[in-house]
């Protein structure tokens, strides 16, 4: 039986697709869902309106106070959480199968009837700003923000704001802003829900469709504009944070490719051979042989939803070993670019991918994540059935051509944060 044959799909309510995967686990269900409309879609006015709209959902509805919500969930041992990413409003729930109806009813109330009270927003903003201030001492976060700021202009979907700018944005959000965003973004249209575990598909669909059938259609503009990234130049950003014993370093550049491009998987595999896992080149040399870092890796990011993204290499080094670590990393990148990848490396990584796919199906979270991500990208479920074939068809010649075509080693951006001055 193929993977897709184990999934029950329902599209009977326009604008909502449900995927239900019954498994042999007893008594528990994991549910994840999303709708388009993340921080990017609020960017023209203030992207934090979107994230706060999600964080405020469990702070009270028109029907229940925040304490009634938490007591209902916690008395069942269940949880519901919301995260607003760049492109989506996401939610996840875990519960015992016997409590499914209560949890779905509550989830529906949280999504459709938030009260968005001023006093709750005020406390949440204070906590969020506290977290943002704390993240100023986070070497990885600072190196990452500076790296992306060098690659993308401010209005690009992959751009990131500085922590100080983000704090200002949070300070400026009002409950009226959030209510308005909620009215436009929270609705049917791009709504996907996936459930896996000890769950009956008919019962689940009846519950969720019954609860969401009164939602309006989304009124938010979901178009993604992708301005050109900044011109790639060889440059370096250094950010000093005192009292840090380890630095974070990003190296990379934008790539003129996204997941829908025919050469994407060739480039992705080429980069995976460089730094996709422990047995890839960077970990085997810079860590295992030379002992310069605890962790180093390389990958593609920001390439979904038709947006061209970037290639990055990330590693951590003590300040004393930073220069040596950078040189060792650069040597590996140069060798990889100049000489390409080898057939035996490709052969090994192909089986890594196909085996990982099988291992990833071992948990209800692994199942829902895989199906939801696939749906968010607008793919049919048979993409997952054909995934191993897609990987097995990758060709060494095309991979090395993709590396040469998309990577420009003479124009790398480097960003380092830590106690470096």
């Amino acid at each position: 039986m193929s993977f897709s044959e184990k999934v029950f799909i329902d599209k009977s309510l326009k604008g909502l697709t449900t995927f239900v995967i019954p498994t042999q686990i007893k008594d528990v269900v994991t549910i994840s869902g999303s709708l388009k409309g993340g921080e990017y879609h609020a960017k023209s006015y203030n992207s934090k309106i979107a994230s706060l709209s999600g964080s405020m959902l469990d702070k009270g509805t028109l029907n229940k106070t925040k304490h009634e919500i938490s007591e209902t969930l916690e008395s069942l041992g269940a949880d519901i959480s919301f995260v607003v990413s760049n492109h989506h409003i996401n939610f996840t729930a875990h519960c015992l199968s016997k409590d499914l109806e209560t949890v779905i009813t509550l989830l529906s109330d949280l999504l459709q009837n938030p009260s968005y009270k001023d006093e709750e927003l005020s406390v949440l903003k204070k906590r969020l700003i506290g977290n943002l201030k704390r993240s100023k001492e986070d070497t990885k976060k600072q190196a990452s923000i500076n790296f992306l700021s060098e690659l993308y202009p401010e209005n690009h979907p992959n751009a990131r704001y500085s922590i100080d700018d983000t704090i200002k944005m949070v300070e400026n959000v009002s409950s009226e802003d959030i209510k308005q965003f909620h009215q436009q973004a929270y609705g049917l249209g791009s709504f996907n829900v996936v459930a896996a575990g000890d769950v009956d598909p008919d019962k689940f669909n009846k519950l969720i469709i019954g609860e969401l059938s009164n939602m309006q259609d989304q009124g938010i503009n979901l178009k993604i504009d992708t301005p050109a990234p900044k011109e790639s130049l060889q440059n370096e950003v250094r950010f000093n944070i005192i009292d840090k014993t380890s630095c974070d370093m990003f190296i990379g550049q934008t790539v003129n490719i996204n997941e829908d491009h025919s050469e994407y998987y060739s480039l992705m595999m080429g980069i995976y051979i460089l730094g996709g896992n422990f047995s890839a080149r960077l970990m085997q040399t810079v860590r295992d042989k030379q002992g310069l870092t605890y962790g180093i890796g390389s990958g593609l990011a920001g390439c979904s939803y038709g947006v061209n993204g970037h290639w990055y290499t990330w590693g951590t080094f003590s300040p004393e070993l930073l220069n040596e670590g950078f040189k060792a990393t650069s040597d590996q990148i140069k060798s990889w670019y100049d000489n390409g990848v080898k057939a035996e490396e490709l052969s090994s990584k192909k089986t890594t991918f196909t085996g990982s796919f099988q291992v990833g199906l071992d948990t209800t979270s692994g199942l829902v994540d895989r199906v939801l991500t696939n749906a968010e990208k607008g793919r049919e479920l048979d993409f997952l059935d054909n995934y191993n074939e897609l990987i097995n068809d990758l060709d060494i010649k095309k991979i090395n051509e993709a590396i040469k075509k998309y990577i420009k080693p003479e124009n790398l951006t480097k960003s380092v944060a830590g106690s470096i001055d």
């Binding site: 916690e74 008395s75 906590r127 085996g355 071992d362």
Partner: protein
């Protein structure tokens, strides 16, 4: 069943065997939900078995166990990471106070490879000086990454203050100078003392054939003899604490942290389950007592407590990550007042029911996937009895409100406390 094993006991579908030839213990739980199996070997050695001069050795040795063994090494083109990652396995190892574990989550058809690798490195790891030298700096960077975090630094200081004689005094990663200077000979000695079949438990969870797997374990691990020496035990006991202790860490940072810790009994003590529920009533979830009094008031960005059961005594610690203008003393007072309130007035049945429901769901989800089961068993093995895992829920359900009040009074008293503050320096 194979006549190579003694069947020891069974509980909730989990079967325990012992290999007759060398006393290796084997735990098995069959679950054919997906064609995946987890193989894990737990050694009864952790940072509790270390002393001054070689703190962090258990963890450093764990790293060296990936560097090569008789049949799995780079020279033969069979390096452990390559062999396992090329089949898509999830692979890693972890070290903690009471145990070290090595595991592989594999497509079922590759289970034999995982068994073969773990058996080979149980007694035939190379542990070469030429491997230790670069790996020392790898581990040092792991230590440095931890030191970047004010929470990690405060947590190390709280344990080091609360425990003076017992080796829980030092964290699993060890002290920096010990990581840098411990000799390869010392690590090899450590390996030769503790890495034996009679000091280990192999756990298999997921989709496998029982008879075939028992035979494979016997085939690969059966070549090892049991140790000729008795595995040493830790005899150091922590002296009675006779007064409150405080520790302050000042460092560059943006916001403060408060930790309030109290000594708890050994993990297998009958009070452990009530202590767990007390932690949930105080800190787990948005309706918990401290969440309402600290988070809802905007005094902290987040809050959590941990009370992991260990082989010896542990700590019941509440951590609060303060918002920038909040003073440590304010939050410390709120935490202690809430403890006092429970000691005086106890908890309600509703609070207890909620904490039990939360635990029931956690236990149900601990069966979600073969790794989750193996991981939970691993911690139970570490404290001395794998049935701690299978009996956990029944014992949780038997806790009464009076038990919570009693254990709060027994353990949360001032003279057994250690309080830690992180104070950010601008």
């Amino acid at each position: 069943m194979s006549d190579l094993y003694h069947h020891i006991r069974s509980s909730q579908g989990i079967e325990e065997y012992q290999l007759k030839s060398n006393d290796l213990k084997v735990l098995m739980l069959k679950d054919q939900s997906t064609p995946v199996a987890t193989f894990m070997v737990t050694y009864h050695v952790g940072s509790r078995n270390e002393a001054i001069g070689y703190t962090g050795s258990t963890h450093l040795l764990e790293h060296l166990m990936f560097k090569g063994s008789r049949n799995y090494n780079k020279e033969k083109g069979t390096a452990i990471w390559d062999e396992l990652q090329s089949i898509g396995a999830q692979i890693n190892a972890t070290t903690w106070n009471d145990r070290t574990n090595y595991f592989e989550v594999v497509p079922s058809e590759h289970l034999e490879k995982a068994i073969s690798i773990e058996a080979d490195r149980m007694r035939y790891s190379f542990i070469k000086d030429e491997d230790r030298q670069p790996e020392m700096t790898v581990v040092r960077n792991e230590y440095e990454r931890g030191e970047n975090s004010p929470f990690d630094v405060l947590d190390k200081n709280v344990w080091a203050t609360a425990y003076q004689a017992h080796p829980y005094h030092h964290s699993t990663i060890g002290w920096r100078s010990d990581i840098e200077n411990v000799s390869t000979e010392r690590l090899k000695e450590f390996y030769d003392v503790y890495y034996w079949p009679n000091n280990a438990t192999a756990t298999v969870i997921g989709d496998f054939d029982k008879e075939k797997t028992l035979n494979l374990i016997a085939k690969y691990f059966g070549e090892h003899k049991k140790s000729e020496h008795k595995i040493p035990t830790v005899y150091t006991e922590e002296p009675l604490q006779e007064g409150p202790r405080r520790v302050v860490v000042k460092r560059s940072g943006q916001a403060g942290i408060v930790a309030v810790a109290h000594k708890t009994p050994e993990g297998l003590h009958s009070d452990t389950h009530a202590i767990h529920l007390l932690g949930k009533i105080l800190c787990d979830g948005k309706s918990s007592r401290l969440h309402r009094k600290i988070i809802d008031k905007g005094l902290a960005t987040s809050l959590f407590m941990y009370d992991f059961p260990f082989k010896d005594n542990g700590l019941f610690i509440t951590y609060a990550f303060l918002t920038p203008d909040t003073e440590q003393q304010v939050v410390e007072d709120i935490i202690l007042n809430e403890y006092d309130s429970i000691k005086t007035d106890g908890v309600t049945q509703k609070e207890l029911d909620r904490a039990i429901a939360q635990t029931k769901a956690t236990v149900a989800f601990s069966r979600d996937g073969s790794y989750a089961v193996a991981s939970a068993l691993n911690e139970a093995i570490a404290i001395g009895d794998w049935q701690f895992y299978t009996s956990y829920l029944d014992k949780i359900k038997s806790v009464k409100t009076d038990d919570i009040k009693k254990i709060a009074t027994t353990y949360l008293f001032e003279d057994a406390s250690t309080t830690g503050w992180f104070i950010p320096k601008n």
